[in-house]
Symmetry: C2
Subunit: 326 residues, 2 copies
Amino acid sequence: MPSEFELIDRHFASVAAQAADVVLGLGDDCALVQPPASDELLANSTDTLVEGVHFLPDIAAEDLAWRLVSASVSDLAAMGARPLWFSLAITLPDGNDAWLAAFSRGLKAALKAYSITLIGGDTTSGATRVLTAHVQGAVKPEQALKRSGAQVGDLIFVSGTLGDSRAGLELLSHAVDSADYEFLTQRFLRPTARVELGRGLTQLASAAIDISDGLLADLSHILKASGVGALVHLEQLPLSDSLAALYSEEQSQEWAATGGEDFELCFTAPAGRRDEIQLLAKELGLELTCIGEIRSENGLQVLSQGEPWAVSGAKGFDHFGEEESL
Amino acid sequence: MPSEFELIDRHFASVAAQAADVVLGLGDDCALVQPPASDELLANSTDTLVEGVHFLPDIAAEDLAWRLVSASVSDLAAMGARPLWFSLAITLPDGNDAWLAAFSRGLKAALKAYSITLIGGDTTSGATRVLTAHVQGAVKPEQALKRSGAQVGDLIFVSGTLGDSRAGLELLSHAVDSADYEFLTQRFLRPTARVELGRGLTQLASAAIDISDGLLADLSHILKASGVGALVHLEQLPLSDSLAALYSEEQSQEWAATGGEDFELCFTAPAGRRDEIQLLAKELGLELTCIGEIRSENGLQVLSQGEPWAVSGAKGFDHFGEEESL
């Protein structure tokens, strides 16, 4: 087995692209970076993916790298921050060279897609594969999309379509060769963090969060932080054609409401900004759908054809072990 | 089992002390922090501890927290940076309440000792305990203690005493009730990152590294980065009274040369700065010992009583799995 230092040189040195703000990159006790201008804040987020919990043991190395980067950059998107730097901690049972080569290829492509620079990390051995990403970005204080800004009367929007990732996970255990299968599994394996949308919303949205635990669970965080309630119409949740083609309306709606890891954004905005939001949607080529509104009554009410809707999993992933920022 | 969110609220909320530069702490998509003044750089480092690799399964939770914080802050010390922010990723097999309470107590005490603020993280479940810390600090560009600054003729110094941590690890499997046992095991379980020393060296040292893999392995990183060689005298390595009391001279010297995780600093400085270095040692109440000098010949030569010294483990932990920054 090659030594650890050789592994690092071989696989990660080329991933650490030079960036103007990186004064000292890999290979010293710390990386040294030039902080953003003093009128910006630094946004920090940490995400861990554990084998058997967040990804299947047989996931392709490139897909795993993509998911790790997207899941972590998605938190910057939800804050309206522009991505700056990425640090990687990776624990592996062995130094499998082919696996590391594929992983670093995927890592390089994903970092490039989001214009974020690898500045350091740590490689360790351990029985279970565990990957932790720490991401940093920059945002002006008055533009940061906090969870706490939702106001009574604001409209609630989501980007893209929901439930696809949950369906993609389900489909992975089947081998179906169709365009719909391909679309949904790619939505699970290669999610897209909505960085451009987050940047565009900094002047429009009153609150935002990324959908990692499931729409209702994540929207609940906005409601709690803002001290408000909400009404959501199940029929208004945007579904992809592929989801609707392969699953019943009932199943599709349940996954759209509670399925995690779509990494779309859920945000609130004053009703008067609706036109500007639709203009932004057009500019980005990304659907932005109004699904309900913020109310003063506490709690989250979901209506299906005018009747209260309830489902066992409606609270999303609220158990020890799923991803959650501290 | 309490939900994950309850666990976080219960154990970590109180650890995240308020700091003037933390604009938004735990509980949103990102933490928002005020970057340092524009004449400083941000120093970033990542460290992972894996159960069974870096710590024994029966380690006390408070000791584990202390080791994690010290090991990661030690990289800031080696860069001459002042500690700012700490992010924690923690993977545990279960949500053991008593364990988490003890861990968060240890975390709080260690963070306070180094004046570093918890700003976020991620908690996940997984079969093996894995802890990753990301630390950030600030240092002026011209004061950063890089590995690459050692010059021919510079003297080589180390802080404190070496080999204690390695002996402490050995002693943990015995139950000896003595002051020496206590000293050495505490050196392993509760190492001290030399932050004040690193700050004091920013105007004195030409290169620095913290001793995590073992003196000779870590000094080799300085030599490689600086493109120089070195001569080290084995007899000059500083040994604690406790190490000398419990182990033979030969064993003590071997551990001082190759044992890891003392988290002392190894640094180089021009011979003309020797008096200032001894003054700093006096101010800090910390021994700073000259152990050799930088030479133009490539490689690291170690002499024992004037003869070349070699030991099987002399290269330190150079295999896949041990701690190493990317």
